[in-house]
Subunit: 321 residues, 2 copies
Amino acid sequence: MSRLSSEQAFLDLIAEHFPNAHPNLELGRGDDCALLKCPPRVCLTTDLFLEDRHFRRAYFAPEDVGRKALAVNVSDILGMGARPLGFALNLMAPPDVEREWWSRMFLAMSGLAREYDLPLAGGDLSLDERIGLAVTVWGEPWPGGEFKRRGMAEAGDTLFAVGHLGLARAGLLALEEKGRHAQADFPHAVACHLCPCLSPKASNTLSRLPFVRGLMDVSDGLAQDVPRFVGPRLGAALDLDPAVLHEEVRIAAGAHGQDPALFAALGGEDYALLGALPPDRLAEARDRVPELVPIGTVTPEPGLTLHGAPLGRGFDHFQKD
Amino acid sequence: MSRLSSEQAFLDLIAEHFPNAHPNLELGRGDDCALLKCPPRVCLTTDLFLEDRHFRRAYFAPEDVGRKALAVNVSDILGMGARPLGFALNLMAPPDVEREWWSRMFLAMSGLAREYDLPLAGGDLSLDERIGLAVTVWGEPWPGGEFKRRGMAEAGDTLFAVGHLGLARAGLLALEEKGRHAQADFPHAVACHLCPCLSPKASNTLSRLPFVRGLMDVSDGLAQDVPRFVGPRLGAALDLDPAVLHEEVRIAAGAHGQDPALFAALGGEDYALLGALPPDRLAEARDRVPELVPIGTVTPEPGLTLHGAPLGRGFDHFQKD
């Protein structure tokens, strides 16, 4: 096992995993800036993925770190009804992490990048006490689609979700309790926490349906994200049929003595898609996106309820520690 | 003194300092992504600015941190012969840092943003052990100008610089030795380390001169950056007239028993501009950019010399600690 002792060794490893020429780039890594071949309408997002805040090496394999750091940003692009075009990476690197660790991390990250055909356009590298990644991703509307923003829903609209609500939370709780051994009892939940399942096809299809009034990715749980989605002037009445929840969510909720729907509504890191549409278009949308499930109704007054009972906004990630 | 105990308190403070609507943005903060009004040719850069790696709170005031974190990225844009259009900010925040500190940091950052008319388009916030900023900036060519890349110089070209070489290094050494008291003896050097002096006017003018063959920003010192600028097939013979160096560089070099030119060539964080042009155009360029100084010649063979003696590549930032 060896360490990456120089910046050049790091850059060489990155070059092994990420080609520097790509149709989306006029100029890749190696200058002050990357030059992007930029479509007229671009969306951009950036997120931190920090050791012991967003992941623990105790149960995140290097592959999980590499994939998830990129996936959570891709999820934001999909949540705009857009497709990602490229990314940049800032890397915080402790000196004692083995070359093998980085190599596995980059291999998984480049695998996901290939899946979405994303070039790594540049970034920065710094020594630090802990591993950290700051990823920036940009994208454009899907062909024939349009950006889907928040705050577009109307009172009476049906709220829908695509993806597993609460499953990543079940995975996190199990991983925190038992480490990777949690995989035995909660294989899907653990997989979902370690690497979010994204829905690019649903994002693509929904972005092309003019009656879909807004889309976002649920990253902090429905309790936090639904109010952000409908905006301050509207509210929502959530109705989460336990039958649509993953079996492992129901088991985890039971083990924690919680109602499964409440457990799911408080779950962070789902990276599910959340959207709104007129109720008479639900059937048509489900024809196009069969995994779409209705989860409630937009109400004319602010406030959030779940099965008729008021629902607080859940915890503040910033206050978690 | 109070602390910012919730994510919302942080977002409110950011909203106080950074307007969310801007002609360069179709959509600002508050959705999954920002929507940029994107020109067809865009350059993009991203950098880390981490406590105890890139700055120390012992002698960086909050204002210095806010300005420099943004300035080093703006410098990369200027080094492409481009003007910045907007930025995104990832923030690592220890829970015990006072609201006052953040407020002063944001005030200075927003001051620099206003100078360049840059909207803050989005970002992320995470608790962390130390303060850290990951800034992403994008830009477009100056009106009538063109992107200036590295690797465009030809053998025989004159290398030139705009900005103070070695001055930030003199400042860093003085600050590390005496903290802010260093200001008494090295006012310019200290100021230059705490907040790089950028040259937007020179970047603008040089980008519109077709005979300027490439531009970059010197961030790791000439010894590292000149080989990157000329590329692997060419070399450079540097000739740094001590008379063009700042007086404080000459004093600092003397205090460390070093030749002033060598001291300057090894200086990191200059954020000066480095470029190349045919020697017969030097006078014309100096007419347009009076602060431009010739610093050597591009040679047909690889290798870097200073006043005829071989010059190593200086230290590797990644190995510094």
